[in-house]
Symmetry: C2
């Protein structure tokens, strides 16, 4: 039986139900008995920050993440300044919504640029510039390492180890890491890296790695249980590292987007209870 | 001007010109002035080992690799025995052709199996069982770490660091590593890992990472210069590590396969001379 208590740590990332507006997604989470929501800035902008905050407060939901800041690998000073301004605005929104983290997607290689180490370094320095403002507003910046499939065009930080190398330059309350099964399931030594991360894990996002990979790799994610990821082992590692936050389901998938969102939430809740939730509580750190 | 000397270390992997039979590919390499060829077992079987050896000897080409052994992640004892037999046969072929290495593609997760660490361990133990026979026949087994995009269905060993962790259990003349730009371009610390590998690098394969990724991810590779990889930096690392072998162009790509093979070889030779060859000689180890 699905009880509210058993879903209390489950969060719906808005990209899983892309057709829902923010008010619809909030209502969907409440109706399904979830404890939290991961909010996207695009849908947030449609209703405005004040109204969003009112809706969230009224719903009783936690905001497990605000998606997303980042995209700051540019080598162009004017573009870098614009990226910084966008990220400062995102920090303000994350603070207003009391989000557990602002997810930072690093961005890919600039057009024509093949120097990956320098792009990575620019991402690290962009984070460094944001830290004081994030600290002032009490927002944790969550670096999201991304599957190497996106290294060229979306996220130049490719492993949890690499994300931690950057995060550890800062205080844990300022800079954490986003642990997403899709991005990291293959990483050699991932359990040890999760342990290393400890309190720096500020978001645990889940979805599956499916094969054959759908033609549009941006939409290549699958529902938990439909692919190759060992959610029991991965979740135990995250729990053992001490993570006590929400578990956010983030699935970019055209088939899911074509289905009625409430049904997607129902399936996702069932898979969570079967494949993830049992492994959250058993492993004390 | 393209001289024979400047192409002396360039090798055509047969998958780049998939429509050519082995005799056609050998002739194509000789006509283009290349120094070596990477042979696939499927095309080898079409002409038979004796005839293949005769053709190779007559051509004067080196065999930069035999592709491929491996696919030994199964947990089923009978399948494991069959895989071992196939690999022993491949070792015999590599010895007969005097190939610089037998490329080992580890294989993916068995159907329904989500235990990636154990699949990786089975691959390592399968290599261990092959080493005595490879040693006896003087064949170097080249472990090929593969882009994580293939971790589920093709190659469970995902980084050069991880491949070296396995290779270093054996003597360098028995077990080496295959360094392929497509698989490893994104790896954090790749230059340091290449240095660590040193004489264990038994094959340097090149092609580009292109975006958007073609719909069939198995055919997602691009011609050098068409994508995001910094061939100058990567090649310098491999040269600095002491690699003095052939540079093998291996491109799985439907568009290239539809083009006249001799034209593909011409383009590939031009890109090699522009993007790779200048960086092979300058960096003494």
């Amino acid at each position: 039986m699905i009880t509210e208590a058993s879903l209390s740590r489950l969060s719906l990332n808005q990209r899983t139900t892309a057709s829902w507006s923010l008010p619809e997604a909030i209502k969907g989470c409440v109706d399904a008995g979830l404890g939290a929501i991961g909010i996207w800035r695009e849908q947030l902008a449609e209703v405005g920050l004040d109204e969003a905050r009112r809706l969230v407060d009224h719903s009783g939901l936690r905001v497990s993440s605000l998606c997303r800041g980042g995209f700051f690998t540019t080598a162009d000073p004017a573009e870098a300044a614009a990226a910084e301004a966008r990220n400062r605005e995102a920090i303000e929104e994350a603070a207003a919504l009391n989000a557990a983290t602002l997810v930072l997607v690093p961005g890919g290689l600039p057009p024509g640029d093949r120097d990956l180490p320098r792009a990575r370094d620019r991402a690290a320095r962009a984070i460094e510039r944001l830290v004081p403002y994030a600290h002032e507003l009490g927002v944790n910046l969550g670096i999201e390492p991304m599957n190497p499939i996106y290294a060229a065009d979306r996220g130049v930080i490719s492993t949890l180890a690499q994300a931690l190398d950057i995060a550890e330059r800062f205080e844990p309350e300022d800079v954490g890491v986003v642990v997403d099964t899709f991005h990291l399931w293959w990483e050699p030594g991932i359990a040890e890296q999760a342990q290393r991360a400890g309190p720096r894990i500020v978001s645990y996002q889940i979805c599956d790695w499916i094969t054959p990979l759908p033609p549009d790799t941006l939409l290549a994610r699958g529902m938990m249980g439909d692919g190759h990821i060992d959610f029991a082992a991965f979740t135990r590692s995250v729990a053992k590292a001490g993570y006590r936050g929400d578990i956010e389901v983030e699935i970019f998938n055209a088939d899911l987007w074509a289905a009625p969102p409430a049904e997607v939430v129902e399936v996702m809740a069932g898979r969570y209870l079967e494949l993830v939730q049992p492994y959250l509580e058993s492993a004390a750190p």
